[in-house]
Symmetry: C3
Subunit: 658 residues, 3 copies
Amino acid sequence: MLGICYYPEHWPEHMWQKDALEMKKLGLEFVRIGEFAWSRLESEEGIYSFEWLDRAIETLASAGLKIIMCTPTATPPKWLIDKYPSILPVDINTGNLRGFGSRRHYDFSSPDYLREALKISEVVAERYGQHSDVVGWQTDNEIACHDTCHSGSSNARQAFQKWCKQKYSDIASLNSAWGTVFWSMEYQDFSQIELPILAVTETNPAHQLAYRRFSSDQVIQFHDSMIKVIKKHAPNSWVTHNFIPMADTQTDNHALAKNLDFVSYDNYPLGRSDLFFANAPKENFKPYMRTGHPDYSSYAFDQSRGISNNNFWIMEQQPGPVNWANHNPRPEKGMVRLWSWQAFAHGADCVCFFRWRQAPFAQEQMHAGIKRNDNSPSQAWHEVKQLNAELQQSIFKAGSKVKSKVAIVTGTLFQWVTEIEIQGKSYSHLEVEFSYYSALRQLGLAVDFISTEDDLSQYDMIIAPCMPIVDQNFIDKCKNSKAHFVFGPRAGAKTKELSLVPNLGPGLLQQLIPIKVLSTETIRPDCSESLSFNDRKYESCCWREELEISAGVEILAIDEKADPIVVKYGRTHYIASLTCDHFLQDFLSSVAEKAKINTLRLPKDIRIMQRENLTFVFNYASEPQSLPTKLVDKLGHFVLGSKKLAPYDLAIIQHANE
Amino acid sequence: MLGICYYPEHWPEHMWQKDALEMKKLGLEFVRIGEFAWSRLESEEGIYSFEWLDRAIETLASAGLKIIMCTPTATPPKWLIDKYPSILPVDINTGNLRGFGSRRHYDFSSPDYLREALKISEVVAERYGQHSDVVGWQTDNEIACHDTCHSGSSNARQAFQKWCKQKYSDIASLNSAWGTVFWSMEYQDFSQIELPILAVTETNPAHQLAYRRFSSDQVIQFHDSMIKVIKKHAPNSWVTHNFIPMADTQTDNHALAKNLDFVSYDNYPLGRSDLFFANAPKENFKPYMRTGHPDYSSYAFDQSRGISNNNFWIMEQQPGPVNWANHNPRPEKGMVRLWSWQAFAHGADCVCFFRWRQAPFAQEQMHAGIKRNDNSPSQAWHEVKQLNAELQQSIFKAGSKVKSKVAIVTGTLFQWVTEIEIQGKSYSHLEVEFSYYSALRQLGLAVDFISTEDDLSQYDMIIAPCMPIVDQNFIDKCKNSKAHFVFGPRAGAKTKELSLVPNLGPGLLQQLIPIKVLSTETIRPDCSESLSFNDRKYESCCWREELEISAGVEILAIDEKADPIVVKYGRTHYIASLTCDHFLQDFLSSVAEKAKINTLRLPKDIRIMQRENLTFVFNYASEPQSLPTKLVDKLGHFVLGSKKLAPYDLAIIQHANE
Amino acid sequence: MLGICYYPEHWPEHMWQKDALEMKKLGLEFVRIGEFAWSRLESEEGIYSFEWLDRAIETLASAGLKIIMCTPTATPPKWLIDKYPSILPVDINTGNLRGFGSRRHYDFSSPDYLREALKISEVVAERYGQHSDVVGWQTDNEIACHDTCHSGSSNARQAFQKWCKQKYSDIASLNSAWGTVFWSMEYQDFSQIELPILAVTETNPAHQLAYRRFSSDQVIQFHDSMIKVIKKHAPNSWVTHNFIPMADTQTDNHALAKNLDFVSYDNYPLGRSDLFFANAPKENFKPYMRTGHPDYSSYAFDQSRGISNNNFWIMEQQPGPVNWANHNPRPEKGMVRLWSWQAFAHGADCVCFFRWRQAPFAQEQMHAGIKRNDNSPSQAWHEVKQLNAELQQSIFKAGSKVKSKVAIVTGTLFQWVTEIEIQGKSYSHLEVEFSYYSALRQLGLAVDFISTEDDLSQYDMIIAPCMPIVDQNFIDKCKNSKAHFVFGPRAGAKTKELSLVPNLGPGLLQQLIPIKVLSTETIRPDCSESLSFNDRKYESCCWREELEISAGVEILAIDEKADPIVVKYGRTHYIASLTCDHFLQDFLSSVAEKAKINTLRLPKDIRIMQRENLTFVFNYASEPQSLPTKLVDKLGHFVLGSKKLAPYDLAIIQHANE
């Protein structure tokens, strides 16, 4: 299924009908509208104007399109801000008010904002909740984007004090949980508590973690209230939200997704790659500047599937150059199609493109659309057309499932720990997790992202690249699992209040592998050292732990002084440092072998993905590549493409035996 | 003509007479005084003390010097700030008040400041306007320096609202012009409008552009009022202003210069080179660290001549190391003389040195003078002496004109567009424009900087490195011109409100060359790609446009995929990317040939410039260089120097046939 | 002597006794307590709780430990801040309040804070001043750390105005001293004076220097008041303070130390090296990432000895990885012992370790202790044990003296000048001073750090790497000294008000060497040039002065143009640029020879130090190294170790003839 993001209010009304017909003709089925339209829907307090939107819906629906309606809450209008100035959030790094003039200028702790945002949401939901052409809803837009999860306002401070009271009941419990005896930070009363910002030097990590949990809860509470309002008036429609990359929300993504029918993701491979790989050397970056890294989009897709344990949508797919990264290249010809197919391969049921036509004005005028601002079709148009034709062949079924034997355990909580407890500046949660993911993908493996709450029973191999906080429930599930486990450094090292575990790291994991982390060091990134595994040399870098091992623990890899880096006990592996891609591939392949999971060594820039009875093969290279005969023969027959893949092309193989 | 900047108030009165006599003896004709002296002229509100300045003028004039008087408005005194604290400007990046304690601590939108500044200006102008020894006036000092064009104060906000009302009349027009429907940024009333600063994320480009225009207008309005006050009392004196580099004023320099008799420029080649080339690799930077880049000073000279279409003055010439760049080398021996001659060659009528004697105290104590602080003559003294001797030979006539067949179209508006619409972080308006200029200079060409308002009829070759906004009037002039045109990327891409042109770039320029810019991409600066022109390979980088060309358009250069980069139609060329110095030289040389303009391939570090019947040749190299015989024979006979140029030396050739 | 830092309030009371007994058994003699305990000692205004501390003292003392008591003033509790919010300091770079939530959240100019801090200090001193087990006191903690010397508060502004009035008496004197006539900065009244912060551009250097002096005086006045309070109640105990690196206090360290019985230093070689060498290339950094630079700790030790002209203590010795640098490696095995012995060699009488046991909570939970948080002994435990055993052999006597023939003249004032008058961004006072120190240490020389106030008579060689301000008294002492002098660039260039000296640099030093600094330039760090000395080539870089020399001045080193860089007159040498390590070693060795001081060329990573009749030899290398036979034979016999030094090991040689 395909769809499109459209802003009727941006265009003269006489253009709507032609737009609608063209959308339909291009194979687009869904059209998302209403996002950001607050000032047009409510131009003064309580003065609503829905007629234009009614007409837009009618025009679009008449052409056969299904409507996805948005709540316009990401852009509170000026009259609202002027009436309730404390809606504006406060920057936690500077203490400055974050003013009107762009978007997301609201504080999740502002009672005025919450009331007004739910009011407009309810008004919209009431009007269109039962509308036959409105099939689904999107809440807000890219919630918490632009670092808006956190605010340093007095609203936030009061709400945080209330949250603390609710969580810790009495101030003595809070003092004890946070260890405020250190540096005389003790409180006598909840009303004394400050936000952990703008202090003389670093604030208490437990205080910081509480503030992150609180801020996340504020987002979720707001979002859940909005879902409730929509569901009340639109009981038969689905509700989704368009997520930014999970690492950027600063919110517990699993919890945020909980009450949604499914998760959507806004996929901007080039913009994201430009930022994520900003410091990568040219030779690593340039080959992918117009394609994105072969594993970057799928990393987000698999996470999107993971946080709601369900198929997902792409709500916004990049159709050409964007405007917001440091540098904004044009996608290679074919990539818009490839990214879309890649989304389907990884569990998407629908791909919507952002946006229909490039807007000539305002902040995103340099952001491409399916059509150029002169209404001519852009390169993406042709690729969408091809994509639709391919989809019409009904090879691929929305709703079909991805199944993986391999899982990565993730969680926003773990990210928070690494951001609060920096310890070594070269440790990046995102880079660490991505390095494991990419190694697995180069081995041809499908990967699920799971939380510690999830069922482990389907997996043969479970990897926790960074899991500093763990509970007994998870340990019990590990014990009952059949999987082989790989834990990266920091695993189990912290209590839920971000203190050291009493028995040294890896804490509760000592039940799975009897080792102790005697000390932890961090290393300048250019000062990596060697790691020996199976008589080959690799790199150990950035974060390193000194291990004490008990009898029965096997040493798999050592450093220059023959001290253990990778150890194994039963089905549990522990890696006491950060390493390099070559090591991760070789090591994870050896673990997979023990877990009886077949791995491949894919040609560079080839990736494969299986969804039910289809295997998708993607070529990210600028050269044609041929699939290994062995692979092809085993899999089945081609329903799209062939053994020889053109640059930026794909093939789909239907499994013989399914 | 030569002159000097002098601060009598910095020195004991008994030193004045000897100073004056020495100035005269050194050949200095003008002495600039009064700048920054507000606290000495008005020590309390309305309490004026001019006796000391009367005596200073008398002493200087008695020695035969002519006085340039300044308004002291760049440094409002403490009592004034304390009385009217809202004079202080607000930093637009931090929201902080920019306090007293240095200079330029005033807000161009403060009514209190405007009133007081014009009052002191009038008092000074009244006293000295008709004084026989005061021959000219300088307004303020380096207006808008230290990023003072913009302020985030409530004074600025109110004035901006008034400006918007005046410009757009009704709020609906503003909403439409700015496209505020995007992100619900719509206003109901002018009083709601905020400054486009300190928002959650980027603000509306049209809003930003309006704010830049407004801020520029505020500067110009203030400055024009001051000129008027001076002219009222000094109807027979000229009025000038000492500009900083054009790119640093954030003000429409042409408009700012309009009511002046001529423009002055403060020339600091080493300090400016240190900042401009701060990221240049050592091998490119070091050869010029004590000379400045061979084209940097002349770039400013030609712009100074351009913005008022007139000869100009150097009001402050660097005489030795300065104090304000990141690193402050000593000029090579000879460079003070060379820079001065270079200014004359490019259209200066007078060069004044900053300053007479190095001040032992306060912020600029490490800034060299013609005399050291112990009153001994510095290296510059000897070079000024030599320069004066050479000038006395009357080879060169002040008032004579530079004539160019080649023009670069420039404008602060274009710079604003690139700063507001960043799109690719490696696009620098200054670097782009400078790269074209430098290529032309290496071809031995004299270059005018013109605005789109200027007459084009004298030019055979007109280059617009970056002209995103263009009007029909300019297009009409192009059509009627005989010139060959070269347009860089972004040309004509934007409306005057910084929206996309409706017919795709290059918009109105499609009347000159029938092409369309289908998409625009930006590239990381280290990821440049190849460009083929005349079977040679060059570099394409940073900013790249995809072109659709109509029949009759000739492709001159292509990329690796054979897509067009440089195209030509009639006399109009369009370059769809940023390129390298080698390409610009080769390409512009080929265009010049078509325009029947002779070009040279000057030896490295040699530059030539013609002013009426004189050709100046400058050697920026640390080695002696000989001029090509061909060149010399053609030109005429040496009136200064010879065919063999010593390091950092120059020669002047008088044309045989003129 | 050895000691430990302990926080009984961090641990359940039942653990105290076992801790105490283990400390004693490990050879620890002193235990420091009470630091940061304000919220436990005074939980509400005037409500004191000392019983727990009484019991802790009793428990520790019963085990035979001697108590060092701290004033808890570095961490004012929340109730105090809430009652007197103006205690909080203001960030001078942002104008933001620096809030509660970490430590050192107090303003040295807050009358409320001063009163309350002295009150709690007096209460503690009254209670324990005569306690038989409390042998000494530590004031506050790491005073001025986290850039807290300076505050931009209105308290600070008022106090600064008062300070100015006291120093300059009348406003005319201040105006004259600061040169406020420049840029109309003149004041009519002391109440007009602002802090020199947050202005439009750089503020007056004299104003800045006054503000630095004032801020330093505020710290010293507070600290002296506290010493007085302690001494009043504890007349028989010593009082010390634990200093951070001298360059980080922004306070006149000599003055701060004046009323202390001795100075203590907190020694964190790895954390400090990581920050100090953050920009060093990998090949220079990596060899020392787990040892610290061989000269870094001793640099601090020699300064600690210097500022009170006395032996010193290490109050906090790093026992493992810390938590606060960019990267925090584990010390190489043996380094905790080596650093401790190195401290003793350079004049320490006692080394205390920070901290007893790693705390599981709050900001420093990743900071190692002698014991891990599970109460197991860490690597450092074993090294302390060995160290104690070695100390028990009574080779080394606390109280014995270091004697040097070589001195470096230093002072916080000189550092301030370089930070205020930046002129070239690559000039770092710390790096310049360290480069001289390191060269001397590689020559095997013991170095004293002295102030210009100190007696010069014991020295044969005196080096002033950076001494921009000098007085006649020092010049007179130089004249009467027997020493050979080396002055680096900037020497004598400034008056005490940070103006240029009237007779050009080196000002008063012209009495020692008749030269003049005609001009000063600064150079980009990657653009160094060559220096010739004794027919060998070295590097000249960053800061360079043009010299005029009088008859009799000998030129020792020249640049590429044969201009003088190093000159000599009698016993006085002047170096007119910054140079490289090779040059400094060769040049200083040649000066030492003239001064009849023996120098060595130590093997790389070997350092030696003599304290009375013992010579200590340290091997910082990862390889074993043998001492040169010549050296060993001359010195005496080994009382620890041998001629062959293991990696990270040391030897002690007792002198034959003493």
